[in-house]
C-alpha cells in the first residue's frame, strides 16, 4: 500500500479543531503531532485556538442572592429552604 503523502498544514489545522482537548496520543495523531512540532504556522494556529477557548471560559456570571430568591419564587419553592 502506498504510504500516506506528507501531512499538510490544512489537515493539521482541521485535525487540531477536531481533537483539541481529546486524545492527541492516539496512533492516528502521530503524524499530526510530528507536523505540529516542526511547523511554526500550525503551532500558532493551535495556540490561538487554545487562547480563544480560554478567553471565552474567563467570562462568567454569578447567581446572586436576589436571582436565587427570584428563581425559587418563580418555581413556588421559596418556602423550602
Amino acid at each position: 500500500m502506498k504510504a500516506k503523502e506528507k501531512t499538510t498544514c490544512k489537515e493539521v489545522m482541521d485535525h487540531i479543531c477536531d481533537t483539541l482537548g481529546e486524545d492527541l496520543d492516539s496512533p492516528n495523531c502521530s503524524s499530526i503531532k510530528e507536523h505540529l512540532e516542526h511547523c511554526e504556522s500550525c503551532q500558532k494556529y493551535y495556540n490561538s485556538i487554545t487562547e480563544t477557548i480560554l478567553i471565552y471560559k474567563k467570562y462568567n456570571v454569578k447567581v446572586t442572592t436576589e436571582i436565587h430568591a427570584k428563581l425559587l419564587n418563580f418555581l413556588g419553592l421559596d418556602d423550602c429552604e
Binding site: 498544514c9 490544512k10 489545522m13 482541521d14 479543531c17 477536531d18 483539541l20 482537548g21 481529546e22 504556522s41 500558532k44 494556529y45 495556540n47 490561538s48 485556538i49 487562547e51 480563544t52 477557548i53 478567553i55 471565552y56 471560559k57 474567563k58 467570562y59 462568567n60 456570571v61 454569578k62 447567581v63 436571582i67 436565587h68 427570584k70 428563581l71 425559587l72 418563580f74 418555581l75 419553592l77 423550602c80 429552604e81
Partner: protein, 188 residues
Amino acid sequence: MNEKEIIAKAQAGDRTALAKLVKMYEQTVYNFAYKICRDKEKAEHVMQETFLSMVKSIRQFSGKSKLSTWLYTIVSNHCLMMARSNKKHMHTSLDDDDALIDEKNITDWDVAPHKITENSELGHILDEAIKKLPPDYRIVFVMRDIQGLSTEETAKAMSLTIPNIKSRLHRARAFLRNELNKVFGNES
C-alpha cells in the same frame, strides 16, 4: 444525603429536595445560558424556564444519564427556542471550510493580561462574535469547550451524531478564532 437520594426524594414529591437540586445546579445552568445568550436578563429567563421544566418532569428522569446531562438537554432546548423567537441576529454561514481556515491569516497572538482583563470593549467583541454563530454551533462550543462535556455527552444532550458534533465544534472554534484574531493577532 447524596445526589441520587435527593433526586429520589424530589421524584417522590419532596419540594425541599427539589429546591436542593435547584441550588446545586443553578450556577451551572445560569452560566451556560449566559454564554449562549450573552445577555443576563435572557439567561435568567432561560434558567427559570429550565428549572420549571425540571420541576414538572423530574419523575421522567430515568437516572440512565447524569442529571447534569439531562439539564443540559433542557437548557439547550430553551436556548434554541429563545434564539428562534429572536431573529434579529443574522447568523454566519459556516459551510465553507476553506474560508474558515485561511493559512495566510495565521499570526502570533498577543494575549497580554491587560488585553484580556474583563472590559466592556472586549466583552462586546466576544458577544458579537458568538452571536454570529448559528445557535446549535454556539451550544456545541459552550458544552464541549467551556463546560467540558465529552463529545459523547454533547452528542447525547443535543441528539446529534458524534461526527455532527465534531464538525460543528471544528467550525465554531475556527470561526471564533478568526473573529478574535482581529483583536489579538499581530500583523505580520
